[in-house]
Symmetry: C2
Subunit: 523 residues, 2 copies
Amino acid sequence: MFVPLSPLDFKRRARSIYATREAVVDGAARWTYAEFFDRCDRWTVALQSLGVAPGDRVAYIAPNTHAMLEGFYAVPEAGAVMVPLNFRLLPSDWVYMINHSGSRVVCVHADFLDLVQGVRHEMPAVEHFVALEGALPGWHDYEALIAASAPHFAPHARQESDLLTINYTSGTTARPKGVMITHRNAWVNAVGTLAHHPMAPGDRYLWTLPMFHANGWTFTWIATAAGATHVCLRKLDAPTVYEHLERERITMLCAAPTVLITIASAEPALRARAPRGVRVLTAGAPPAAHTIERVEGELGWTVTQVYGLTETAPFISICEPLPEHATLTLAERAVIKARQGVELATSGELRVVDETLADVPRDGETVGEIVVRGNVVMEGYFRDPDATERAFHGGWFHSGDAAVVHPDGYIEIRDRLKDVIISGGENISSIEVEGVLLRHAAVQEVAVVGLPHEKWGEAPHAFVVLKPGQSLTEDDMRAYARERLAGFKVPKGLTILAELPKTATGKIQKYVLRGGKAGIAAQ
Amino acid sequence: MFVPLSPLDFKRRARSIYATREAVVDGAARWTYAEFFDRCDRWTVALQSLGVAPGDRVAYIAPNTHAMLEGFYAVPEAGAVMVPLNFRLLPSDWVYMINHSGSRVVCVHADFLDLVQGVRHEMPAVEHFVALEGALPGWHDYEALIAASAPHFAPHARQESDLLTINYTSGTTARPKGVMITHRNAWVNAVGTLAHHPMAPGDRYLWTLPMFHANGWTFTWIATAAGATHVCLRKLDAPTVYEHLERERITMLCAAPTVLITIASAEPALRARAPRGVRVLTAGAPPAAHTIERVEGELGWTVTQVYGLTETAPFISICEPLPEHATLTLAERAVIKARQGVELATSGELRVVDETLADVPRDGETVGEIVVRGNVVMEGYFRDPDATERAFHGGWFHSGDAAVVHPDGYIEIRDRLKDVIISGGENISSIEVEGVLLRHAAVQEVAVVGLPHEKWGEAPHAFVVLKPGQSLTEDDMRAYARERLAGFKVPKGLTILAELPKTATGKIQKYVLRGGKAGIAAQ
């Protein structure tokens, strides 16, 4: 019997069997699953009354609020396509994405109303602007529309190949591209994630990860599939995170490594408030073994690394624990946990290949590109057949990430292909060098990039954020690295920064460091 | 990106990342995943050399051996359809199923060679008979065919809607029907089971459940998806089970309630050999709360009840633990665990309906029929469009099982629809009565059926197997039941039996009890 695979089926199910369980917490407000989906359905009806038809796009600019989460159900329930935008970008970026996606409706959180209003005239195809919170003349009021709508609509006959979302890549090197995720893509990622990292109705999930980032790694739907509670988080500073951890008795969260560093580096009085046993999925950038060691050792949490891209819905590997890992020390295990691991049971075939698409040897040394074929891989880039063709050349989706395969089959990312430092003919993994420097007692964060060098063509340079009250000289750094790394990998220079330039999703913008060392150092 | 969903993808993945892990144990023999799949591939090639083409059927009559397990990979890899037959049936049953399925090849374990040879002339369409172990003139030798074949073949371009297996229902009331399970059906069941009841590479799975029964509830593929070890089990007596539990350090198994009773009733010296913490999935018949209580309390295992049918690949509900259950006593929790629970996140919409397909109220009292729509539901019955149409009338698959829905949404089976006892106009659940009698100190097993009664039309009658050295009179039984049940539910009569008549899968054959009380009582 064929029934289309869709994360909206988790909504139907949760409403049936978890109706009275707590679905969403947002500040002082709480909703059961019955109440939450009643709101979602009213919003579906309101969208239809605004003229939204199947296939139309609806864009969102909002932090992790209940209204943002409602969009992930109400928009697709109308057969339309959710377009969650990165709220940390510039208004000119939003204009590009909204126009490129052809969104007919744009929903905006209070914090961004004025910014969007300022560029409203540049988006002539948008028919309706909706203020999710706050108000502006000429804008619809979200709560008023919901209150005016009945929670009943004729269900849209969907197919599993229908578009569910368009997620714009952060575009550090080119124009943002719109990743087309289908209902089937998201369903497979959600179910596969649960198969490897189960959740249950008792779980309380903290929204540290932005929902706009690959649909919150599909936890917008996964937590609902499990009957867990979504705990919204509007600000990501340490006191707010710890307040929610404690008050809401959080059991699970997802976070990029940079957020884990923020959490692990909080002052002891805050750290003491954290519940123990929190399960963490981390992805978005390779975490240093040292970061994992701190979170597991000092907080008593469990960290599992997953890996993927917006284009892969997102997970294509998980650092699966093996029974033989149990006998390792915390530090040894952290080294393994810093690897990206193996393909999920559901995500499809993952390979690391050379330029001829042949597998690289499993020697932990030979670097190749990660490619994948599977049901989590996007349909393509929206209205960009050339970029789509490039991404899929040879019949495999090309990640652009460079990795090695260890003898146990676990992959480990060495770099974005373009971030490999080639110095004197040797390939240097900036991540390897960063992993070493991060263990230095004075170092809080570090990014290593290749800078032009007279003799070697290119040479590694370290950009470091120090721990409070610490200092570090270039000689100190080099002496420390020389004891732990091959000579050619030792950074030739050091720049101390107050903070590293990052994308909204916590990825360090190495191109900024590479291009503007002087400018940054002068800050 | 569309890639057909298939459990064979778990084979590709396990071979890649679990190649050196132990895949299969069968007595003294052990194979890694690399070795095991090398054998499977050679058998695929051998099948092709015997003329097996995509779409052809290949039947198996074998207990839980490595050769049987190999069939679940090698046959579909050739694009053919696996037809695992119940080896406890009569040769005339096998003849019917082999002819009905149109199997071109029949693979038979040593124990059944002579029986099959005796009816060979009744199966003129079968082209090849293969002895999996043992030998007979005119039969192929399985190991010789494998040894003579290279492990390389041109992969079959499969679709997810292709037939994977045909599983014959046990046919207690009518001719066996051939349930058509697709690659997509089995994949969705496998992944959904893992999402609710995860397994990992460290797990060691004991094959207490027959592989022929709904493809071993798809654990033929689930254990491989998890990188766990399949531990074959050729005999189901208590000493053999406990020997394997101890020697192979088993962590998980599946078993019908009757098998759980066998395990829980073993002598103390055997029970002391069992590892603690074994996770058990039970299904096939509703287990009594008392059975669950004994297995959890005395062995320190965890029992989770699942429910489904061969027609549903098989799981359509799971008794999901809720956080509020944690505060219950063992006995209170066992009562909840004896319920069939809620639909899985993946299995599709499950309802309990009256004759008009309207939902029954969630009152724990009103009995309706369980119906389901979802991706685990079979394509239909092989070459039986009439039975298929009846099973799917109104667009829902009809289970034939009668259940109530509790206020928390958990369903609880009261009976096969045809097994409900109607006495003096009142509906009596035989399972409810059985659950009470099973708590009596003298009772080991019990089946309650409706027998003709002058005054009430029909009245419940109890068939009981006693614990060793115990006795029970009809008056004792009635007094015990009267204290715990409404008067009309108290059995009017008692028959003591040495054992209950059961199907090969452990379901009590109530039609035998109903039809032949005198004959059975005289045994």
